[in-house]
Amino acid sequence: MSEQNTLSRRRFLATTALGAAAVASGSLAMPYVARAQGAGVKIGLLHPVTGALSYSGQQGRIGATMAVEAINAAGGIKALGGAKIDPVLGDAQSTPDGGNAEVEKMNSAEVSCIIGGYSSSICLAASQTAARYDLPYVVDVGVADSIVTRGLKNTFRFSPGFGVIAKTALDNLAVINDQAGKPAKTVMIVHEDSLFGSGLAKLLNAQLPAKGFEILETIPHPTPTRDFNNVVLKIKAQNPDLVIPANYYNEYVLLARTMLEQHVRPKGIYSVLGGAASSYKFVKDYPDVAKYIMDCNHWYNPNSAQAQELRKTVEDKGQFFTYELYLNYSAVLLVADALERAAATDRGKITAALAGSTFSSPIMPYGPTKFVDGQNQGAAPVNTQVLDNDIKAILPPQFANAKAVFPMPA
C-alpha cells in the first residue's frame, strides 16, 4: 500500500517537475516556427552503411548528404525563414531489424521525415515502423512492389518499382530487337536464387514467349557463387542469341568475365536491374568485359546539365556516380520541396505536402511527380548500354544520348 503511494508520489513529482521545466523554458507549443531562423529541420537519413549492403548504403548516404549540403548552402528552407536541414544519420546495418531500431531512434530525436532504406526488406520494415508515428517516409531505392501497396499514408516512393521496371525492360527489349531486324530469337536466363533473381526469372519465363523469344534454359545460382565455368559451359552448349543475367554485382562481373574467357559471345547481354551492367565501377575495372552490355535500370537524365554537373562533382571526389547516390540526392530535394510548401515541420503537414507534390527532379528523367498511393507515377527506368568506355542511355528516345549497338559486333 505504502509502496503504491510512494510510486504515485514519485510519478507526481516527476510530472510536475517536467511541467515546471516546460513553463520555465516558456515554449512548449510552438517552438519551431517561433525560433525558425537558425533552428534546423531534422531529417532522418537511413542507410545500411555496414554489413552486406554497406557499399550501396554508403553511396546512398553520400548522395543524401550532398543534397543536404547543397540546400543549406543555398539558404536552407526559405518558407521556414531559412532553416537549415539538420541530417540525423542512421545505420540500418543491412537488416530490417537494424532499420527499425534506427527509425525508433530518429522518432525520439523528433525528425520531421525519414529518407532511405535502400533494400526492399529494410524499406518495408522501416516505413511500417515510421507509420506508427505518422512519420513521413520517402523510400530511396527499394523496388519491391509491396512497399507501396500496403495502404500506408506515410510512405512515398519517388523511384520506379519492380513491376514498372520489368514491363519497360521487356517492351524495350522487343523494340531494340525489332529495330535491328529481329536477330535474337533464343534466350538463356542466369539468375541468383533469392527473391530478386527468382522473381525476375519467373516473370521473364511468363512474358518473353509472348514477345517472340524462345527460352532455352533458365539457370539459377546461389549468392555468392565462386565459379561460373559450368554455367558458361551450358550457355556455350546451347548457344543462345541473348543472355539475360539477373544477379548482384560480384556474380554479374564473374559471369561476364567467364563468358569472355571462354569466348562465348552471344548477340547481346541484356539485363534488368543488372547488378553491374550500369555501374561505372564495372566499366572502369573491366572495359573489355563490360563493352556493349545492355541494362534496364535506375538512371539519371543524361541531357540534364545539373545531372552532369553533379556527376562531375561526385567523380572529382573519387566516387562513382551510382544510382543509390542520385536517387537519394533527388529524394532529399523532393522532401525539401515539400517542406517549402508545408511551411512547417509538422509531420502531418509534410505528409500532405508530399502527397500533393508536383516536384520535378532536375536529375532524374521522371517529369513532374504525381503520387498515387505513395508511388510516383512519373518514375521510369532507362535502358543503358556500355559504349565507348562509358554508359549511355539508349531508350526512351527523349532521354537517350546514344543509339543501341545490337547485335554486338563480334
Binding site: 557499399y55 536464387d193 539459377p220 546461389p222 565462386r226 565459379d227 559451359l233 562481373v253
Partner: protein, 290 residues
C-alpha cells in the same frame, strides 16, 4: 545435347578450382595435424591476404604472382607471431582455448578489414587475366592453369620441408608425440608457431593465386574455408596428401554436381560426401586410425 567434350571441360574446371581448395585445405590440415585445433581464423587470414595482394598490385604495381614471394613470407611471420604471442599464451595450455581464440581472431580480423576497406568489392585487371589456352575443344583460362601448377610446386616444397629439414622433423615429432618431443629438447611453442606460420603462408599463397581471377572483399575467404573443412575431413584430419587429393576430388564433385544439378545445388554434392565420409570412414581417405 550433352557432348563428352563438355563433360571433360567440366572435370578440368573442377580440377583447376580444386587445386586452390587443396592449398587452402593444406594449411588447415597442417595446423590441425600439429596443434590439434581447427583454425577458425583461416578464412579471415585468407581475406587479409587477398587484400594484401590487391594493395601490392594497386599501390606498388606488383604482379600478384610476384607478390607471392613477398606476401607468403609476410604471412608466415604474421602466423608465427599470432600463435607465439596471442593464441599460444591466451590458451594457457588448453587446446580448447586455442580454438576459441582463433574464433575471436576471425571476428576481429574480418571486422577490422570491413572497417578499414568497407564491403566494397575490389578486383585487379591484369593484361593476362583473360588470356586462355586453346585445347581445341575448350579454352582453359591461363591464370587458372598457372594456379593449378603453382599449387603442386607449393605442395612439393612443403613435402620437402617436412621430410628433409630438421624443422620438418621437429614438426612431425611434435605432431606424433608432443610430450616426447618436448623431452627430447624440441621447443614446442616455437614449432607450434612455425606450423601456424606455414599454414598461414599456404592460405596466403592461395589468395595471391586467386587475385587475378577473383574478387576481394572482407568475407571472400570464408567461402573457400568452408569447403576446405570438408576436404580436411575427406582427406583425413592432418594428412597432407589427403588434403591435396581431397581438394582435387571435391573440385571435380562440385563442378559435376553444379553442372548436372545446377549451381544452386552444386554444394550439395560436397556436403553429401562430407556426411558419407563421416558415416563410413570417419578418419578420412588418408587419416591415421586413431
Amino acid at each position: 545435347m550433352l557432348s563428352p567434350l563438355i563433360l571433360i571441360t567440366a572435370v578440368l574446371n573442377g580440377l583447376m578450382i580444386g587445386a586452390v581448395y587443396a592449398l587452402v585445405a593444406l594449411g588447415l590440415t597442417l595446423i590441425y595435424g600439429v596443434l590439434h585445433i581447427i583454425n577458425f581464423a583461416h578464412g579471415a587470414l585468407m581475406s587479409a591476404a587477398l587484400f594484401a595482394a590487391f594493395f601490392a598490385y594497386q599501390k606498388l604495381g606488383l604482379d600478384p604472382y610476384l607478390a607471392t614471394f613477398l606476401i607468403a613470407p609476410a604471412f608466415f611471420a604474421l602466423g608465427y607471431a599470432l600463435q607465439r604471442f596471442v593464441i599460444g599464451p591466451a590458451s594457457h595450455g588448453d587446446d580448447r582455448n586455442m580454438l576459441l581464440v582463433t574464433l575471436g581472431l576471425a571476428v576481429l580480423i574480418e571486422n577490422a578489414l570491413l572497417y578499414a576497406f568497407h564491403a566494397d568489392t575490389r578486383t585487379v585487371d591484369l593484361p593476362y587475366a583473360f588470356r586462355s589456352i586453346d585445347l581445341g575443344f575448350t579454352f582453359l583460362a591461363l591464370p587458372r592453369v598457372v594456379s593449378f601448377a603453382a599449387v603442386f610446386v607449393v605442395a612439393l616444397l612443403l613435402w620437402a620441408i617436412m621430410a628433409l629439414t630438421d624443422t620438418g622433423k621437429a614438426i612431425r615429432a611434435v605432431a606424433s608425440e608432443k610430450l616426447g618431443a618436448e623431452l627430447a629438447g624440441i621447443d614446442v611453442a616455437h614449432i607450434y608457431a612455425v606450423t601456424f606460420g606455414l599454414g598461414t603462408a599456404c592460405v596466403a599463397i592461395a589468395a595471391c593465386l586467386l587475385v587475378p581471377t577473383y574478387y576481394v572483399t572482407p568475407r571472400a575467404g570464408e567461402a573457400f574455408v568452408l569447403v576446405a573443412f570438408t576436404i580436411v575431413v575427406l582427406g583425413g584430419m592432418g594428412s597432407v596428401p589427403g588434403a591435396l587429393i581431397g581438394g582435387l576430388l571435391i573440385g571435380i564433385v562440385e563442378s559435376l554436381a553444379g553442372f548436372f544439378l545446377g549451381e544452386s545445388l552444386g554444394q550439395v554434392g560436397i556436403f553429401l560426401i562430407f556426411i558419407v565420409v563421416l558415416l563410413v570412414r570417419p578418419r578420412g581417405l588418408f587419416g591415421a586410425s586413431a
